[in-house]
Each structure stands twice: as C-alpha cells, then as structure tokens.
Symmetry: C2
Subunit: 194 residues, 2 copies
DNA sequence: GATTAAGCACACCAACTTGTGTACTTAACG
DNA sequence: CGTTAAGTACACAAGTTGGTGTGCTTAATC
C-alpha cells in the first residue's frame, strides 16, 4: 500500500521526513529561537535521524531559510483573501494577530542570525516588502490618496506591535489597530469611505 | 602617574577594567549580537584578562544585564531634557534616531536571550515601560486629551521603526515620524496646539 | 528475487562556549 | 619594608554546537 504519491522518479517512504523536519523547526524555532535549537534536538523532535536531515538540507542555515520560506505573504493572516470584507475592514484585519505568532519570525531571524547577507535575512527583507506591497494594494482598493504611504505605515505598525508584544510580553496589536484606524480614516477621502 | 593607567608594557591597570569591559560589550553586543560574542573575544577587546572579567561579573548574563542598564531612559535621545522645544517638538524629537543604534538593544536582547525570565529581559520590559511613561508625560504637557494612549502609541511607533529598520536595512524612522505627527495633531485639541 | 532509494542508529570529530584554578606580577599605601 | 588589592597569563574542564562516516534496514519497484 503506497500511502503516498509515487512521482515519476521520487518515491516517498515512511512519512515525509522532510515535512517532519520543517514541522519540527516551525515549532522549535518559534518556541526556543533559532540559535538555541540544536540540530540534535530538532531531529529528535522530528523523529528523523540526523543523517537524514543533512541529506535534505545541506546545513542548518539552509533549513532556516526554508523554514522562513514556508510563510507565505499571500496568506498572511487571512487578510487579502476575504472578499466579504470592505477594503477598510480588510486593512484592519491585518491587526488581528494569530496568537500563534508571538514575534514575527522574520524579525526574530534577522536579529538572531545578525547577518544581513544570510539567505534567511534576505528572504525576510523580501517578505516584508511583499507584505507592504499587499497592504499598498489593499490601500489602493480602499481609495487611499497615497496608497504607498499608507501601506508602508501599516506595515510599520504591524512590526511595531510584533516587537513590542515580544518585549513587553503583552499584546500590543490593539494599540496598533487603533493607530491604523486613524491613519486609514485620514488617508481615505471622505466620499470614498463607508 | 598617580592612579591612572600606566605600566611598563601595555599594562593598563589601576581603575579602568570594569569600564573597559562594559565599553567593549557595548560595541560588540551591538555589532555582533550577544550570543555571537564570546567572552574570550570580549575580554581581548577590553584588554582585560578573562579572570578579571569574571571577578567583576559573576557570569555573562550579569554582564548583559549591566550592559542594558547602562542605557538610561531619562537620557533617551535627548528628548526630555530640551526645554527649548515646544511639547509637540519634543514628542517628535523621539523619532530622530541616533544612527549609532541600529536596533534598540532591548528588542535585540529580548529576542536573542529568548527568555522572559532573564534579568536582561526583565530590565528591557522596565525600560520600555519607562520610555512610554516619559512619552505619556510629554504628551500630557502637550495637552493631549488621552496622554496615556498617545504615549503608548508613540512608543509603539518607535519600536516599529527600530525593528523595521533592522529587517529592511533601511531607515524607517521618517515613516514613523510622519505617523507620529498625525497622531499628535489628532490627539491635541486645536486650541492647545501651537 | 534483485535492485534501489530512503532512512536509521550510533559513534565520532573539531570547534567553540562559559567558566575555573593556579601561580605570578604589579602598584599603592601605611 | 611588607601587605594587599587588582590584574595577568595560560592551561584546562565540561558542555554544546554543527556536521560526517559507516554499516545496516526497510519498502517499493523492476
């Protein structure tokens, strides 16, 4: 019984070792941080031998990069894929944080790795840019006079709430949402609001 | 030649050891991060023997805590000690970041140490609270209707700019300052503005 | 049944970490 | 002078890290 796909060449055995590795990294990197999570512990959690892990990922850095790539800016916190909301509501939805993410993993990775050249750091930059672009687009749809500016501002608010939540150990997203509401109302000319 | 550093060969004894250690930690922790800076390297940079370092600080954690304590919320970036500015200008002055601080060391420490119980993490929380309190006070002096709210909002903007600057490798404080201007003008009733 | 890819168990390595122990040297001071 | 506080140099312990080498086992396909 093949439980799984039999690709033209690839045959997945057991149960997706690669997926388990990434799954374990998502949990451990988030809970303990990247630097404080050793490959031994990670492999144990993934129920994968260390040897196998290093056959899937050349080194830890590459695993970290792949771990970050798994977060997709298009599926943020269900912000841009909700046609039931008005544009304004969609912009505000970005501040309902899924409390599974105590600190944006990109900020964490940038700080922990401490190397702007690191592939993960570079992807973090891409991601942040993508998020701002999505917000800009939503701002445009909402009729903002300067969508770029509003998008960048909202992105900054999200990062601020994320960082502050981490340091203070207290949810700062409501504060950010309050600011966002002010900015949005200021940026959208009255006739377009509803 | 009395009590000052002087010695036959590079022997800086007398009274500077502790200060040199902290000085080196300020530079290295900022440039390389805390976890990536070993005590060996730090002692070499401070021109202090490792033994001496451990006579001044029980362990690295304590050094990290002391390193953070050296940042004083009262002397932020010369924000609250400038009677030449109007209250409004004083609030905005908080966003002229001294570019010597790429990322607020408290956010960095919180992320790197990854332990809310760590003395440095706890001090980071105190510091952030103190900053918000100072901003709240300035907001009150500026005549804001809800100074607490404005202070908290401005603090969040600072953190957002700090985090975002780090991740994007691009100064985000102007964006934060623009938001701050909007918030301030919205929070201060017209007659009180000047 | 043979082949083959994927994985496992486990020992092992080299580098690096924080932190000590020990014996020696210097400067200040009464 | 002698005492003492501060510091040095250096070896070393004990732990952790990322990463390999090797031989063996499984399961699906040929």
């Amino acid at each position: 019984m093949t439980e799984f796909d039999k690709g033209p060449q690839g045959l997945r055995r057991g149960r997706g070792a690669r997926e388990r590795i990434i799954g374990a990294s998502q949990q451990l990197f988030r809970d303990q941080g990247i630097n404080r999570t050793g490959m031994d512990q990670l492999c144990a959690a993934a129920q994968v031998s260390k040897r196998t892990a290093y056959q899937h990922f050349a080194n830890k850095d590459e695993l970290v990069a792949e771990y970050l790539r798994r977060f997709d800016p298009d599926v943020m916190p269900g912000v841009f894929d909700r046609p039931d909301l008005t544009p304004r509501e969609r912009l505000l939805a970005a501040f309902e944080m899924p409390e599974t993410t105590p600190l944006c993993p990109y900020i964490a990775a940038s700080v922990e790795l401490h190397d702007p050249q690191h592939p993960a750091s570079e992807y973090a930059r891409e991601y942040k840019t993508a998020i701002a672009a999505r917000l800009t687009q939503a701002a445009r749809e909402a009729g903002a006079t300067d969508p770029e500016q509003l998008g960048e501002q909202l992105a900054l608010l999200i990062d601020g709430a994320s960082a502050r939540t981490r340091v203070l150990n207290r949810d700062s997203f409501p504060t950010a949402a309050a600011i966002a509401a002010v900015l949005i109302d200021n940026a959208i000319p009255a006739p377009a609001q509803r």
